[in-house]
């Protein structure tokens, strides 16, 4: 009997010591952050969701680093002389490993990462109650603008890509779309955004896209498809529409590239970079809000020097003097080149020229104007579209619509800021024909916009990459184009793992 008592005591003890089996004992809540289910409930959630979409501008696949390699270095303005051969190969049409992260996959990934953020906003906001419905519409319009922008650049780079328009699920295998459908989606997003976005924002919200930004990107989208009348309609906004008189060229050309005069009257849309956080590229606390372009494009000994400028541009700048018989002042703020000190009295990050005599680097967005070194936290905003570009685009569109004489006026406005004589004075022959004007415009765009990530789109739009003869002409300026195969290299290969792992996606032609 004694034994049974002991036994009973022991078993009761065991049951007592056992942790109380509350039904939800295993339901351990994550104390670190809110769940997806608990989010997308309030206006504040909606604002944060849109802000997170903007934050994708700070990621290395896009506008903090690698996209400049695709848009600037691959074009005939730039090249890479990096000792990292594979990195350099990806600026000269030598694509061997299509999964090469820095050259291809990260930009692809970050593009869709940004689109995922936009899609979350677009899918979830409609359900959130707002006291002011206009505010909701404005948030949705911003997400549409950003999605349109990212698809615009993806269309430029890879052309035939999947269109993901809903929040992603892990097992998604989205279907590839032909380029025309991708452009149509960009047009749709930008048009819908345009309808809602304001002409301008209050001071606290400067930096968000307005009607000008939407029209400018819409015009770019139409222009890439050579839909000139539609492009003109979009650009009319700046000339005769609600945006007329709102934009002006800044007096000092350099103000377009420094952090000291950002969001100025010339700015149409720019990325708001900041050096407040000195953190990493990941999605962690204190993540970097600056860009790394300056570190990657600075001359050897200062930065990585993974990208530099083709020297033909120096010569081009020097072909024509200002009305005061001086060197084109834009050259000073556009390039580092051997005679920079002799021509303008500027050293290179405080150094004398210590590089080869035929070399040049991009100076736009470099921070030598207040530093002697570079790092990963550049705070100067990158101007994706400025008014000078809009004017030159307008001139191009007018010329294509056979209004060459009118077009010249807009080019002259841009030239005048830099004390360059009017086209009629300096280059009368170019007013004689549409083709001659277009050829001049190609030079004008380089002089004004080189290193501002528009050249790759320009070359494609102008058809300069469509025949072997035209490509040879480009190769005169940039021998990397000797590797260019017509019909192949006009678009990038899609990352190979994406092609292999998605049955609904085919590799681009000829790859």
């Amino acid at each position: 009997m004694k034994q049974y008592i002991k036994l009973t005591i022991a078993i009761s003890l065991m049951v007592l010591i056992m942790p109380s089996c509350k039904k939800d004992l295993l339901n351990v809540d994550n104390p670190n952050t809110i769940t997806e289910e608990q989010f997308w409930k309030t206006e504040s959630d909606a604002e944060k969701g849109v802000n997170a979409a903007y934050a994708m501008f700070y990621k290395p696949g896009g506008w903090s680093r690698w996209i400049y390699f695709r848009l600037d270095l691959t074009s005939d303005e730039g090249f890479s002389n990096s000792p990292w051969i594979e990195l350099a190969d990806w600026t000269r049409f030598q694509y061997v490993n299509y999964n090469f992260w820095e050259g291809n996959a990260i930009t692809w990934r970050d593009t869709y990462k940004a689109i995922f953020r936009c899609n979350q906003v677009l899918a979830n906001l409609p359900e959130i109650p707002f006291t002011d419905n206009n505010k909701k519409e404005l948030l949705l319009a911003q997400a549409k603008f950003l999605r349109g922008l990212h698809y615009y650049y993806a269309a430029l780079l890879w052309e035939n890509i999947p269109l993901v328009l809903e929040p992603s699920k892990p097992d998604d295998l989205p279907a590839q779309r032909p380029l025309a459908e991708v452009w149509a989606q960009v047009e749709k997003d930008l048009t819908e955004a345009l309808a809602v976005l304001p002409v301008s924002w209050d001071a606290a919200n400067v930096g968000r896209p307005n009607k000008g930004a939407a029209n400018a990107f819409l015009a770019r989208t139409y222009m890439q498809q050579r839909k000139w009348p539609q492009a003109k309609t979009a650009l009319d906004y700046f000339i005769t529409g609600a945006g007329a008189g709102k934009y002006e060229l800044v007096t000092n050309f350099q103000d377009n590239f420094t952090h000291t005069n950002e969001n100025n009257k010339e700015s149409v849309f720019e990325i708001q970079f900041s050096d407040v956080n000195k953190g990493g590229d990941g999605d962690d606390p204190n993540q970097n809000m600056g860009h790394n372009r300056a570190q990657f494009f600075a001359p050897r000994g200062i930065g990585w020097s993974d990208g530099q400028a083709r020297y033909w541009m120096v010569d081009e700048f020097k072909k024509e003097k200002t009305t005061a018989n001086a060197i084109d002042p834009r050259l000073r703020y556009t390039l580092f080149y051997p005679a920079l000190f002799a021509d303008f009295g500027d050293k290179i990050y405080g150094r004398n020229w210590e590089w080869n005599a035929n070399e040049a680097w991009f100076r736009k967005y470099q921070r030598d104007y207040f530093r002697t070194n570079e790092d990963y936290f550049a705070q100067n905003n990158v101007r994706l579209i400025r008014y000078a570009d809009v004017l030159l685009m307008y001139a191009e569109v007018l010329n294509e619509l056979d209004q060459t004489a009118t077009a010249a006026g807009y080019v002259n406005t841009v030239r005048a800021r830099s004390n360059m004589a009017s086209l009629a004075t300096a280059h009368p022959a170019v007013l004689m024909s549409k083709d001659a004007f277009r050829d001049r415009l190609k030079i004008e765009r380089m002089l004004e916009l080189c290193g501002e990530s528009v050249r790759w789109a320009d070359l494609k739009r102008w058809g300069d990459l469509e025949t072997p003869a035209k490509v040879s002409a480009v190769a005169q300026r940039d021998p990397d184009f000797n590797n260019f195969v017509v019909g192949k290299h006009v678009r990038l290969p899609i990352p190979q793992t994406e092609v292999l792992n998605n049955p609904n996606l085919k590799q681009n032609d000829k790859y």
């Binding site: 034994q3 049974y4 009973t8 022991a10 078993i11 065991m14 049951v15 010591i17 056992m18 942790p19 089996c21 039904k23 351990v28 994550n30 104390p31 769940t35 997806e36 989010f39 969701g49 802000n51 997170a52 979409a53 903007y54 934050a55 000792p83 051969i85 190969d89 299509y98 999964n99 869709y112 995922f116 993901v164 929040p167 992603s168 892990p170 998604d172 001071a203 930096g207 968000r208 950002e262 708001q272 900041s274 407040v276 956080n277 000195k278 953190g279 999605d283 962690d284 606390p285 993540q287 809000m289 570190q295 050897r300 000994g301 200062i302 990352p495 793992t497 292999l500 792992n501 590799q507």
Partner: protein, 1017 residues
């Protein structure tokens, strides 16, 4: 009556136990059932006697049974026994742990004294099997027992590292680096994420990391199959390593001291010297028509001399142990120090252990407590790669560079290689862990056959990581960084509560051992971190003040993690006449890491064995013991998951600048996708085993064949980038895979007068096959591998090469069937690729499967011999038949980029065509592309892991100085390696399951020469 007293108590079990009641209830019912079998046997003849060892000392607890009858007893403290047998013609079987069985015919005698001989093969050995122990001979599952002596002889930082080659089916790859952990894989790849087995140290469920002192080990058991591991349930899918630490023994205090000291040297690359480098570098530039770089011919640097040093290890251990009738104690202290073989690396550990136990009446109690502080100076960068990437013409120091160190230069040495001397000085990383790990248990022997045990385990560590970055550069064109200090402090806690009730009784020929219980474990981890930039510097000495008070631009962060595992378990072991053995386990597990509707799972297993040699009909003289085993069971697993992988969460860390004032605004969005219905990964294993002891127990053989099928494998399977997912692929129940394997372990021992020796061979073969992949996919591709249905994981998927073009004519004539020249741009000396799809060009579509990274078989060979006072031990380990990717060769042999070259390399030239190395060509990746089979090599190797020679001081001498024993040992590790592999170490470890065979400059195993001294008194 007993049945009733049990059942109502359990009816009070809380609601969440309802699900288990059927399982646990069944076990309890069985226990109760056997109570009713408490019947005493009829007796007609009584035998008494005494059991002693060779020296005539009494053996306590030796088992005495009547063969073929259901009677048995065991000896008392004086070795005496009394047994009633059915008739006077019975045969008695005497057995005891560590001794050979002996059978004696009664022949009417009433007094039989027996002397047992110490067994050469330890048939009576007891092994720990989780919540109890079993005689090794009674095992029904696959359990490996590691020779602890072999483990402690080795100079190892972690216990995992010391296990290599000592047990079949256990794959170990060492870390090499000071303080690094080894990777242990039991019976192959069962899932696609983690492979680490579960460690149970004195009942505490934990992991035997570098804080654990291997000198404290008393015994190691490895539970390999599902039925053996099932009692540990959900965490045992990768196998279980049970470690029991040393306990005091009855008797006066015994003091043991051991000291080991070792020197370590790293293997080195055979790299070109300066002159050879210069010649080859000029050749590559000249072939490419690129102006030569202006190499600094005044400098000759041997980067390996600069980066590597002779490592040094010291290991001191002292222990005090003793005990009386009712208690025992063991106290040990250890100091371990390792100066690394790479500059600025090291590891340092101090640890203390107290194990004690006591008993009074039916109550006994014990505790195991270990306190340790481990500190490692971690490696910055990877010197093994950097010594290759740097050119011999770069100086170590260069005052012109910020920080004063030499590195690449655009005009003189175009490389981004990191100067290892610079980074060792400028970047310092240190991790320190203070850990307390222990458990306390109490046991009530309610009835002679019924025990209740409560076990409370607790482990905590205080972790501190410091990163100090001085101002200065270590590579070409580096971005400017000021002095930066980052520090984090973390606390880990794990609490374990276990209640078990065990029943152990023999009813004549029937023996029943049953256990039922419950366990609860909670893990917590919390960390805070801070970073400051522009750390204060003393302008005269140049030293920095590394505290977070100094500096500017503060950043802080922190987080908390928590997980709970709750389980109910039951096991029953039944033994009939030592012939038929049956073992059944059921476990009901709940995990907080799984989807809210998928938290619970029930996992049963059953195993049986038949000791053929105990059958009357079995009359094979040379077979002393023969046992056949079979087991089948299912285990659930969720421990590879993160804390909240099932939960889609919002990332709130993005911020943006907006407005004219560039105000910082918060952002929030989902970054990482999640699968919310994560459920248990299930491992179903079937095991067939044979244990045999032959030739007077001189030869013992264990063979196992197993089929392990894992379904619903939880893995972070790569998903498409078009999902926009980041922060890691989401966990998913994504695959099914099957491992089949065969393991054979054989030991032969022989003894003569002064000479004895043994040889143990462990052979393992393993095949894995993917049965099914997640998201409905048929394959997963990475840059170099494919994982495909019906094939092993991570097979090489590359372009195939077919030698070199020797002439321009060969290039032109290399055409497909349509006459298209396949590589029109190639030149003589370039690689010829195989156009598998016949489209006349070389593209990704020409890739095919070109080999497997999996070893066909692995061999462990352990040998020992002793002659008089000398002992010689050798452990060999070999791995055969794998194909690996040599990342080193893909760097040194490429020539398109600047790095040092392989010594003696012969690139193709018009005058030197008899070579397989393409022409040296700077600036083009076409010959050096990473996705070709040019870099595949055989991974086969055989290595002398360990050899030692020890000398026991003669008894006469040590008695005179008052010692009980003393021994001097010299040993060596990794001294000999036979391999054709061109990397630094064929025994490497790649943690990425999908790139398992990629050698990428992993830290190699080091050569080690040790001397040790051991004595006790």
């Amino acid at each position: 009556m007993r049945k009733r007293s049990l059942a109502p108590t359990f009816l009070h079990a809380p609601a969440c136990m309802q699900k288990v009641r059927s399982a646990a209830g069944a076990v309890l019912l069985l226990i109760a059932l056997f109570f009713t079998l408490l019947l005493s046997a009829q007796s007609t003849h009584t035998v008494k006697g005494k059991v002693t060892n060779q020296k005539g000392e009494p053996l306590e607890g030796a088992s005495v049974t009547a063969k073929g009858a259901n009677t048995g007893t065991s000896t008392d403290a004086s070795g005496n026994y009394t047994l009633q047998v059915a008739n006077a013609q019975s045969t008695l079987v005497f057995s005891n742990v560590g001794y050979a069985d002996k059978e004696v015919a009664v022949n009417g005698q009433s007094s039989i004294d027996v002397q047992l001989q110490q067994g050469t093969a330890d048939l009576g050995e007891v092994v720990v099997v989780g919540y109890g122990s079993q005689r090794k001979r009674d095992l029904t599952g696959a359990v490996a027992v590691v020779e602890t002596g072999e483990v402690t002889k080795r100079q190892a930082t972690t216990i995992g590292e010391a296990l290599q080659g000592l047990a079949s089916g256990v794959f170990v790859r060492g870390g090499g680096q000071p303080g690094s952990e080894a990777r242990v894989e039991i019976r192959g790849l069962k899932n696609l994420t983690g492979t680490n087995p579960l460690y149970v140290i004195d009942g505490m469920i934990t992991y035997a990391n570098r804080d654990f002192n291997p000198n404290d080990v008393e015994s190691i058991q490895i539970l390999k199959d599902a039925s053996a591991a099932a009692i540990y349930g959900s965490r045992a899918a990768n196998g279980v390593i049970i470690i029991t630490t040393k306990k005091g023994k009855k008797g006066p205090m015994r003091v043991d001291f051991a000291a080991k000291t070792s020197i370590q040297t790293t293997p080195r690359w055979d790299l070109a010297g300066k002159d050879e480098f210069v010649r080859l570098n000029y050749m590559a530039y000249d072939n490419a028509n690129v102006p030569r770089q202006n190499l600094n011919l005044d400098v000759t640097t041997d980067w390996q001399d600069e980066s590597f040093q002779t490592g040094y290890m010291q290991d001191y251990n002292v222990s005090f142990a003793g005990g009386g009738d009712n208690g025992s104690y063991m106290v040990s202290a250890n100091y371990f120090k390792n100066k690394g073989a790479v500059i600025s690396t090291g590891f340092d550990r101090i640890s203390l252990r107290v194990n004690s136990q006591g008993s009074k009446g039916i109550f006994s109690f014990g505790e195991n407590l270990a306190i340790s502080n481990a500190k490692s100076d971690e490696m910055s960068g990877n010197p093994y790669a950097d010594v290759v990437r740097l050119l011999p013409t770069i100086p170590v120091y260069d005052p012109a560079n910020p920080g004063g160190y030499g590195y690449g230069s655009e005009s003189r040495a175009r490389t981004f290689g990191t100067n290892p001397v610079a980074i060792a000085d400028l970047e310092d990383r240190a991790l320190e862990n203070f850990r307390v790990r222990g458990n306390i248990w109490g046991e009530l022997k309610l009835l002679p056959f019924l025990k209740y045990r409560a076990n409370f385990g607790y482990e905590t560590s205080a972790d501190n990581y410091r990163y100090k970055r001085k101002e200065g550069n270590w590579t070409l064109n580096q971005a400017y960084d000021p002095a930066i200090f980052n520090e984090n402090r973390a606390r880990y806690q794990s609490m374990l509560v276990e209640n078990t009730l065990s029943f152990n009784k023999r009813f004549g020929k029937h023996s029943v051992n049953a256990i039922a219980g419950q366990t609860y474990q909670r893990d917590n981890y919390g960390q805070i971190w801070g970073t400051k930039r522009n750390i204060l510097q003393n302008s005269s000495s140049g030293s920095y003040y590394w505290v977070l008070d100094q500096g500017s631009e503060p950043q802080v962060g922190g987080y908390d993690q928590k997980a709970i595992l709750l389980s109910y378990l039951g096991r029953i072991e039944y033994n009939f006449a030592d012939k038929y053995l049956l073992n059944a386990v059921v476990r009901h597990d709940g995990s907080s890491r799984l989807g809210r509707n998928e938290q619970w799972g029930t996992f049963p297993s059953v195993s049986a064995a038949w000791r053929v040699s105990n059958e009357e009909f079995f009359k094979v003289n040379f077979v002393n013991d023969l046992k056949l085993r079979i087991s089948h069971g299912t285990l659930g697993s969720s421990s590879n998951l993160g804390y909240w992988d099932y939960l889609p969460v919002i990332n709130t860390f993005s911020t943006i600048a907006m407005g004219t004032g560039q105000n910082v605004l918060p952002g929030a969005t989902q970054v990482r996708l999640a699968n919310q219905d994560l459920r248990w990964e299930k491992l179903t294993q079937t095991n067939f085993g044979v244990d045999a002891s032959l030739l007077n127990s001189k030869l013992s053989v264990t063979a196992e064949y197993f089929i392990a099928k894992t379904t619903d494998v939880l893995t972070y399977m790569p998903i498409l980038m078009t999902t926009g997912n980041d922060g890691g692929n989401p966990a998913v129940n994504a695959a099914s895979l099957r491992n089949t394997g065969f393991e054979l372990s054989a030991t032969y021992r022989a003894e003569a007068k002064d000479f004895s020796y043994y040889v143990t061979a462990n052979v393992t073969t393993l095949r894995n096959k993917i049965l099914n992949l997640g998201y409905g996919r048929n394959d997963i591709f990475t840059g170099t591998t494919v994982t495909k249905l019906g094939s092993p994981a991570a097979m090489w998927f590359l372009l195939q090469t077919d030698g070199l073009f020797q002439t321009q004519e060969e290039v032109t004539n290399y055409k497909n069937k349509d006459g298209i020249t396949i590589q029109p741009n190639a030149r003589p000396g370039d690689l010829r690729f195989v156009d598998h799809n016949g489209d006349g060009q070389i593209t990704n579509d020409d890739k095919i499967v070109l080999g497997s990274p999996w070893a066909k078989w692995e061999l462990g060979l352990n040998m020992g011999a002793s002659y008089k006072n000398f002992d010689l031990t050798m452990n060999w380990f070999g791995s055969f038949g794998s194909t690996v990717y040599n990342g080193y060769r893909s760097l040194v042999d490429r020539f398109d980029d600047n790095s040092n070259y392989r010594e003696g390399i012969q690139p193709w030239t018009p005058d030197n065509t008899n070579t397989n190395v393409p022409r040296a060509f700077y600036g083009s990746t076409l010959n050096s592309r990473g996705d070709s089979d040019r870099w595949l090599e055989s991974g086969t190797f055989m290595r002398l892991k360990f050899v030692s020679l020890s000398y026991r001081l003669p008894d006469a001498l040590i008695k005179r100085i008052g010692f009980a024993n003393a021994q001097i040992t010299i040993s060596g590790q990794n001294l000999l390696t036979f391999s054709s592999f061109g990397g630094l170490d064929p025994e490497f470890n790649n943690g990425n399951m999908f790139e398992r065979g990629v050698y990428g400059f992993q830290f190699p195993n080091l050569k080690m020469y040790s001397a040790g001294l051991q004595f006790g008194f």
